[in-house]
Amino acid sequence: MEEKLNLTILIVDDSSVSVSLLETVLLKEGYQVITANSGPRARKLAVEKRPDLIILDIMMPEEDGFEVITRLKKNARTASIPVVFLTGKDDLEDKLSGFNLGAVDYITKPFQVAEVLARVRLHLKLSIATNSLITSQTNKLRQLEKAQTSMLTTPEQLPKANFSVYYSTFLEAGGDFYDVFQISEDMFGYFVVDVSGHDIATSYITAAIKALLKQNCNPIYQPQESMRMINDVLVEILSDTTYLTACYAKLNRKKKTLTIVNAGHPPVIYLPKKGEPRLIDVDGDILGMFKEVYYGQQDIKVSPGDRFFLYSDGLIEKPALKKVWSECLPEVLEACSNIKDTPTQGLALELACLMIDKTCKPEDDIVVLGVEV
């Protein structure tokens, strides 16, 4: 996992309940967490572990938050770590002092979890941008000379992702592809991409996208933001008639949520353990064509035993019958309800078999990803 972006947050608060709560919440989001309940301990950890962000309580006995910030800023090893402090509601003076001492933001107590997460994301993004991680992305892509090698993740390589795949290409080089990757301990990303056309040149695009995914799909970016950033790069590097459709599903097994973003791609099929399959309709622009784009996002609650499918239009489209894929959805839904008893390893193959007409020669790449929560 060469490029996985591991983000560590240090929580400092003398109240163990506060620390525990923040720790639980942040771990669920995919961050690494370290904690301290006093100033001295916090400073020691900050130097040792170089966290990417520090959440610091102001009111602590002995060494208070202000003293901690002051000392952190004096130490070259910790001076550039962004600090967000926790303060009581009406402490205006506290806020001003904190800012003057170099904090980047404050969160009032008692805090709203959603607010904490939003601020954490924001300041991590700002901090990373300052360290020019993003500007180096396009440089790295320009250095990519090797065409796509078979770097498609197999279920055996990432068993915790719990998926099965069916992949068949129309041409040697292949245009469609998929990627399955681990974002954090309990978070996995599933991505299916359909490249318009069957150019040989598309294999360069594949390698580029794999790199983009690794850079942009991590805990601090919402999937819809990741998609937007990928689009920003693709608009610059794709030819004027080439575009991609893609579907990205992020599964958080700890929070039991599935977040889906869709870029003009056939919708994800969700097959609950008990119940009928349904389409998850999310709006989104295609990738690589437009500078101003919109990506919707949907979060659905899932339970162990549920399944979901990502696939390319090659699975369902019937050009011989002049049917575009948007007309072929009822059929694939029905096929899904017939594979409820299939074990995980066989899901993708089973669905592909049900949908592919063996009497016709396939005219397109086919990708099917079947995942069990």
Binding site: V25, P110, F111
Partner: protein, 108 residues
């Protein structure tokens, strides 16, 4: 006191929330005792610290009753006023006992 509702408010599963409540109960015991002795002795510094601690923990978990009561004690203590503190502490203890009761029931 609906634990599952409180859990949902902070985006946690109920069992995770229960763990935090247990931690709250554990750590608050000593602070409530310190608060009691602070009120008895008229020690404002101690009262402020203890009340502040309980207030913070309760606030995070959504126990608004205890939060408000501790806040009141803390603010008055900062101004050297202990009037009503004993009553407020008793009300906190009542709620605290309720929480302990719910925990016991959940674990059985």
């Amino acid at each position: 006191m609906n634990f599952s509702e409180l859990a949902e408010n902070i985006g946690l599963e109920e069992d995770e929330f229960v763990e935090l409540v247990e931690l709250f109960v554990e750590t608050s015991t000593s602070h409530l005792e310190r608060l009691q002795s602070a009120i008895d002795k008229g020690n404002t510094q101690q009262a402020v610290e203890a009340a502040h601690y309980v207030k913070g923990a309760a606030g995070n978990l959504g126990f608004t009753g205890i939060y408000d009561l501790s806040k009141a004690i803390e603010e008055k203590a900062r101004q050297n006023i202990f009037e009503g503190a004993s009553e407020a502490l008793k009300a906190i203890r009542d709620r605290y006992d309720q929480i302990v009761e719910v925990l016991r029931w959940k674990k059985s």
